[in-house]
Symmetry: D2
Subunit: 143 residues, 4 copies
Amino acid sequence: MTTVTSRMNVRVGWGDCDPAGIVFFPRYLAFCNEATGALFESIGLPKPLLLRTYDIVGYPVVEVSANFFHPCTFGDDIVIESSVAEWGRSSFRLQHRILKDGELAVDCKEKRVWAARDPERPGGIRARAIPDEIKSLFSRGTA
Amino acid sequence: MTTVTSRMNVRVGWGDCDPAGIVFFPRYLAFCNEATGALFESIGLPKPLLLRTYDIVGYPVVEVSANFFHPCTFGDDIVIESSVAEWGRSSFRLQHRILKDGELAVDCKEKRVWAARDPERPGGIRARAIPDEIKSLFSRGTA
Amino acid sequence: MTTVTSRMNVRVGWGDCDPAGIVFFPRYLAFCNEATGALFESIGLPKPLLLRTYDIVGYPVVEVSANFFHPCTFGDDIVIESSVAEWGRSSFRLQHRILKDGELAVDCKEKRVWAARDPERPGGIRARAIPDEIKSLFSRGTA
Amino acid sequence: MTTVTSRMNVRVGWGDCDPAGIVFFPRYLAFCNEATGALFESIGLPKPLLLRTYDIVGYPVVEVSANFFHPCTFGDDIVIESSVAEWGRSSFRLQHRILKDGELAVDCKEKRVWAARDPERPGGIRARAIPDEIKSLFSRGTA
């Protein structure tokens, strides 16, 4: 078994950087959020289709951790490699590696939940079991 | 010895929220970044003064982790309680607690470095020892 | 007749500023967007209540223009004065003045529409007539 | 004489959209800001090189206006066509057209100034004459 890994290219923008001239760190996490979308898209499920097909509102983050090894700046071309590290019943863990010139600049881990509208609380959301077909789309059997 | 804790109020904006109607999680980390500024301001060092006085470019984050317990939405009034959890030679650890209606909504930990321009690499930055007076401003002796 | 003017205070954050050390200009427009919310709140309709009460999805901007006279930077305390300049059937024009130390730093004009879900296009939105009571809440008669 | 037009592709992200499910309008202006960078890059001057070569801090916006014709949402692939509409001595006007499925979704005009550090005010910036070679790089003679 191998696991799907997606690669998303990002050009760091002027508006992503702060007065120290480096990426304002929450922007890295916004990049990783879009990289999660790119990962689902790589298995044929761009986010609008994913939400419609499975009647969910999203996969909100419940835990995140990141290490920042090398600063990036405007004009930098970075690559974000993303994969699912672990599947739970209604949650899953992701790993993102942000590379600059082939070197690891940022390492980011997320735990997300599969979230649907809560029929009992208007405006509320609640976790739901992740469909098996989602999990299997992320595995490429080698048997 | 006690440690300084600052409290910053944030009104969650429409532009802080995503299509699921909840705060886009990187925005919480942007809030915590400003809360770090509020913490320094509470000891008499608003960021512009801090940078000038100590000739640093900032205190960039090298590690961050956060847990998201309850979603917040636009119009919510939240409070961010911030304090320094640990001092190192050139780095320090912070703890932020985001409260909504008195309940813990988000818990965030950061490790930051005291960073100055690197005289040997134009545009580069490097860690520097944190002045003792900074550390002592954060402690209120009870002797 | 006079018109309601709201005042919103904003502390410019580190993350609002760019590598030139000044506010990244789209952030001013994000501030003005929240100031529009503050204006409605000043007549007793914070945005969550406004959307629920009138069954709208928001008041999206269809035109915006802004002049930037003086740059602001992190740590600056600015004030945004907002008012409705003109009411149309399903649209309205707003005026925002961003003041720094009492001087006009940014002037911003928005045209917004009163927008509801379109029952005929899932996910679509369409303009709707602005209720008269909204318009009258913004006017303070002087008989 | 013709004028250089650049084309930049943007995938609209989840984090670019608001609770109404459409792009939060200041994000369009952030896209246009990066599109200005792409325009300069198309004449061989990516922003880091531009700033170094001409010793400027940037080309801050002094006026902006935009019309929003069709809403975009997460997952949309948009194209931004950018060109210089007019050159002044120390300022220039840009035109950005954001296309979705070939249709004009947003039209944005900016006036920017060529800005350098002000040697007389630490931290201040001031307009400077735009070098002729910049202007001529944007024109492709057809003689």
